[in-house]
């Protein structure tokens, strides 16, 4: 079976630190995998390895069946990425930013389509033609979500995507993720937000010091149990 995301004994050693210790993971289409862990646990390193921005020291990451390190450019067509803090081009408007990133991904949308994506992401209509330099963090995050959705990717790589979003926008984002997973998108989300992980995730993993120490289906745990499990590993 071809997994949309797969890690085989994936390791990353920096000069003075072993950031990832033999990660083995498979994520299928329609699955939302939430990776919990403290700062420095290796979550961002894992995302960077799946994005092909860094090379593994050993092992391999696969995206849609392609080894990431050997196909770092090709695999980008199958993924969309939302960082913790979406930074856009401040001299361009939200609409122009979305048009730019979509065109780079190979999509040429009409303005009405772009506006629809921004609306779907929850960006107020009055903001779409304002320069991004005037946006709040949450508004930038919404444009980032629109960019990811407009790419129609098979895999979503999310690094603390709800950071900076207000509760209403976070809920809307969770709903959006559910819709995307129902359409077959595989989601890999690194987060600190246990509640959000329980709410949208189909599986949850806990990472500590570069090691995936536990993986559970979220259906098997309630929020409190998940929190207890997480705290146990973090002690």
């Amino acid at each position: 079976m071809t997994y949309l995301l797969e890690a085989k004994d994936l390791r990353k050693q920096y000069a003075d630190k072993l950031a990832l210790r033999g990660l083995n993971l498979q994520i299928e289409a329609g699955e939302v995998f939430c990776l919990l862990g403290q700062n420095g646990a290796g979550k961002s390193t894992t995302i960077n390895l799946f994005l092909g921005f860094i090379e593994p020291t050993a092992g391999a990451a696969y995206l849609n069946g392609l080894e990431v390190a050997a196909n770092s450019l090709k695999i980008k067509q199958y993924l969309a990425y939302i960082p913790e803090n979406v930074m856009l081009y401040p001299h361009l408007t939200g609409l122009e930013n979305l048009a730019l990133f979509s065109s780079l991904a190979g999509f040429s949308y009409k303005e009405s389509e772009l506006l629809a994506y921004l609306d779907q992401a929850g960006l107020p209509a009055e903001a779409v033609r304002r320069r991004v330099g005037t946006y709040s963090k949450g508004m930038r995050q919404k444009v980032g979500i629109a960019i990811a959705v407009a790419k129609h990717a098979k895999v979503l790589l999310l690094d603390e995507p709800t950071s900076g979003l207000d509760p209403k926008a976070s809920n809307e984002f969770s709903e959006l993720l559910r819709q995307l997973s129902q359409q077959g998108t595989a989601v890999f989300m690194a987060t600190h937000d246990i509640f959000r992980a329980k709410e949208v995730g189909t599986r949850v993993g806990i990472m500590r010091e570069g090691e995936l120490v536990d993986v559970r289906p979220t259906a098997a745990l309630n929020a409190n149990e998940l929190e207890q499990l997480y705290l146990t590993y973090m002690q």
Binding site: F53, I54, L104
Partner: protein, 472 residues
């Protein structure tokens, strides 16, 4: 993809107030330099044309005179400025504007603007070329130093690359975008220059000036391309914008200020020029070995006279159909001219060797490649100066020998007689024909090649470096 990134860079740059202020200042400087340069060109050109006409008329309107008196009366050759020299004055301000043409000696070209102006001109003029060569690269540095560092620092680079764009394509997009922004600053000034130039009858139908201007623009396009590529590569390889800016400013100082002066000093040290006094003394000493036309006791003159008597089969100077004095003068002129030309050629060779050091440095420093290319295409470099000097000397020699011929044809006792004033009107005056662009290109192969090598080498190596640049 490249087009989208280029468009984004262009729009972002135009909306950046810092760029608008900086480029506005630079554009104002360029336009001012173009207009002032053109005004100065027209004034000087007019002055020199009027002066040349005046001396030509004075020469033609001489009264009845002995030809050798006319040879000593002499004339002047004024160097007309080249059409594009208002864009790049090159050496024009430091080389002379006119040369006195007289019998027996080859004078140097004198009365440069630097000689007649205050000492401030020695610090360089505000010409279009100065702005293009020195200030536009500075604008490019400020425009491009954060091309990648800012993207990396803010995190937009990861988002950009996650869309499936390679670092190389991002770099090309940025280069194209910044290129458009620079063209927006430089373009209006060059368009104004072209309009001023070709709006006048003098150059409207002159393909040579068209070709020179086209190559001038192409040369600067390559030069700016180099700076943009260099700045983008440095920005990609540095982790922080501050270190990229410091490195680029260091390159700018080294390339535009330190290296040109260092290589000029090195050239002058390796190939020292002799002083004017020493050269005059050397020429005088060498000239002594030839016939002295003004010394009747000169033994070589006596030998020439004896040969003439024998050639014409007569026994006294009175019976000769030619003037011995005129032929002695011609012989003397041929010899002294050879002596002067030898010494001027040696001096020119020394200057050329000095310049060659600087020109070869163009392989290390693009500024030292564009500078001679720009001057050469503008017609204000050393080669064009020497071309004028040689044309003036050639005219002087032919004029003096023609007058010596007239004297010789007067026969015995010529010194007591004069030729009719109409004789001088039949003598053609000095009319300088500047060399064509094809001739100039022969002198510009090294700088042109250096610039192209830089463009190809930097693009290839720089973008290879960018390919291997870590994203995070």
């Amino acid at each position: 993809m490249i087009q989208s990134i280029a468009q984004k860079e262009f729009i972002s740059t135009l909306r950046d107030r810092r760029f608008v202020v900086l480029s506005g200042l630079l554009l104002a400087l360029l336009l001012a330099a173009t207009l002032v340069g053109r005004g100065s060109y027209r004034t000087l050109q007019h002055e020199r044309m009027v002066a040349q006409q005046t001396v030509n008329e004075q020469f033609h309107n001489q009264p009845n005179r002995h030809p050798h008196r006319v040879a000593h009366y002499g004339s002047f050759a004024f160097r007309p400025r080249a059409g594009l020299s208002f864009l790049d004055a090159g050496l024009d301000s430091f080389t002379g504007a006119s040369v006195f043409l007289e019998a027996h000696q080859q004078n140097s070209v004198n009365f440069s603007q630097a000689q007649q102006s205050g000492s401030l001109i020695r610090f360089g003029e505000l010409t279009v070329a100065f702005v293009l060569q020195v200030l536009v690269p500075l604008l490019i540095v400020f425009l491009c130093f954060s091309a990648f560092t800012e993207e990396r620092e803010t995190g937009t680079l990861k988002l950009l690359l996650s869309q499936g764009v390679s670092m190389r394509r991002v770099a090309w997009g940025k280069i194209a975008g910044y290129g458009r922004a620079v063209a927006l600053v430089v373009g209006p000034a060059l368009a104004l220059a072209a309009w001023l130039l070709f709006g006048e009858e003098e150059f409207a139908h002159n393909p040579d000036v068209w070709v020179r201007l086209a190559l001038f623009v192409a040369g600067y396009a390559v030069y700016f391309f180099l700076w943009i590529v260099g700045a983008v590569v440095v920005s990609a390889r540095q982790r922080h914008a501050r270190s990229a800016l410091v490195l680029l400013l260091g390159c700018w100082m080294l390339g535009c200020i330190i290296l040109p002066k260092a290589t000029a000093n090195l050239g002058a040290t390796l190939f020292p020029t002799i002083t004017k006094a020493q050269m005059d003394a050397d020429v005088h000493e060498a000239a002594q070995k030839g016939i002295n036309g003004h010394d009747p006791q000169d033994q070589r003159s006596a030998a020439l006279k004896a040969n003439l008597l024998k050639q014409y089969g007569v026994d006294s100077e009175e019976k000769l159909p030619v003037s011995v004095g005129g032929l002695v003068m011609a012989e003397s002129e041929a010899y002294t001219s050879k002596v002067y030309q030898q010494h001027f050629a040696d001096l020119t060779r020394t200057y050329e060797r000095q310049n060659a050091i600087s020109n070869w440095a163009g392989l290390l420093n693009p500024y030292q490649a564009i500078r001679p290319l720009s001057m050469g295409l503008a017609g204000s470099d050393f080669a064009h100066y020497v071309h004028f000097q040689q044309a003036a000397e050639s005219y002087r020699y032919q004029l003096v020998q023609r007058l010596n011929g007239l004297q010789a044809s007067m026969g015995y006792g010529d010194k007591e007689r004069k030729l009719d004033a109409a004789t001088w009107q039949a003598i053609p005056t000095f009319a300088y024909q500047a060399p064509p662009v094809g001739w100039a290109l022969g002198y510009l192969l090294l700088p042109a090649l250096a610039l192209l090598l830089w463009a190809v080498g930097l693009s290839w190596l720089g973008l290879k470096l960018i390919d291997n640049t870590p994203v995070v």
